[in-house]
């Protein structure tokens, strides 16, 4: 298996760039897809954001200084792309971030690529009500089973603060599900 360092080197050289980019996409596409999908919820939007993420990575690979791991750098780009996408959506629709989140969850009921039952839909409503940071930490820890150290490298937040955020998120979600 190709190492991250070799992959980055190959991405920087014109001769090997195309092949290395294919390897990069195939290695990270699924993980990044699910990371983005849990932020923007809808498949088509996820597809757009995912493609833009890879294009950004391709164009900015020379700016990658190797201070963090390649995957945490890519996760960071994907997170920022997804959050910027939502920001633009709320601005274009003239609604607040909270209203946008409510609409996104409401749209899930008619989404052909969502077949969650009542409890799963309720959980999405509950997740939508969380502050941004808690939402990200919850999705990365609970669904993607990432380690706190990995999440820390992506969100650039201390492990202690992440543990607190995750704990708070779980408490809020359980309370939300019990109440409704």
């Amino acid at each position: 298996m190709i190492t991250e360092e070799t992959l980055v080197d190959e991405l920087r050289q014109e001769k090997t760039q195309a092949k290395a980019f294919e390897v990069l996409v195939n290695t990270y596409k699924e993980r990044l897809y699910w990371h983005i999908r849990r932020i923007v919820l809808n498949h088509d939007d996820t597809d757009d954001v995912l493609q833009n993420t890879f294009i950004k990575v391709y164009k900015n690979i020379n700016g990658f200084k190797g201070e963090s791991q390649l995957y945490s750098w890519m996760y960071r780009i994907a997170t920022n792309e997804a959050l910027s996408f939502l920001k633009k959506q709320s601005k274009n629709q003239g609604i607040s971030d909270t209203e946008l989140q409510d609409r996104m969850v409401a749209n899930l009921q008619a989404d052909v690529y969502f077949d969650g039952d009542e409890i799963q839909l309720k959980l999405q409503k509950a997740i939508a009500s969380l502050p941004e940071k808690q939402k990200l930490v919850f999705n990365m820890k609970y669904y993607q089973e990432m380690k706190y150290e990995e999440i820390s490298a992506v969100l650039q937040t201390s492990v202690g603060a992440l543990k607190a955020s995750y704990h708070l998120a779980i408490k809020k979600l359980e309370k939300f599900l019990k109440e409704d």
């Binding site: 195939n26 699910w34 999908r37 959050l83 690529y113 969502f114 940071k133 609970y142 607190a164 995750y166």
Partner: protein, 176 residues
Amino acid sequence: MKKANNHKDFKIPEGYLDGFTDKLMERISTSEGNQEARMLPNSDGFKIPDNYFDGLHSNIIEKLEEEEKKVITLKPWRNNLYYAAASVAAAILLTIALQYNQSSEPTFESLAKADIEEYFDQTDFGFSTYEIAEVIPVDDLEVADILEYQFNEENIIDYLDDDIDNIEELNLLDNE
């Protein structure tokens, strides 16, 4: 004297002990991982179109090529023409602006904080925070620029007033 396996009065289901370790380990890992999230469902109900990932790489390449086609290099003489036109337009605008607004030229200091915030909030720059971070001249900054900067007490109180919702970011739990 041999005492082990002296349990002739009791029977256990056949093969029970063979799978015992696996079952136990599974139970331990489940209770450790989800100790805090017992009520939450394990899956989220999201699906993806069949074979979506198969065509992803070629879709990205297509989009990348489209984007690159849009960036057309202008010929040098055309560049000069555009610069000339822009200079004339700028000169006209400057003359008009000076004539109409000689007495009250706005300065950065004269802008209300709310106006600046409103501008950043309403204007779509088309840049993500990642892209903005890329152009911050981190290399030109010294640690002392941040550590030795004295914050005004009024600013600190304003910040805490405005951002009290983000109290968790103060990392209070991290200092245990």
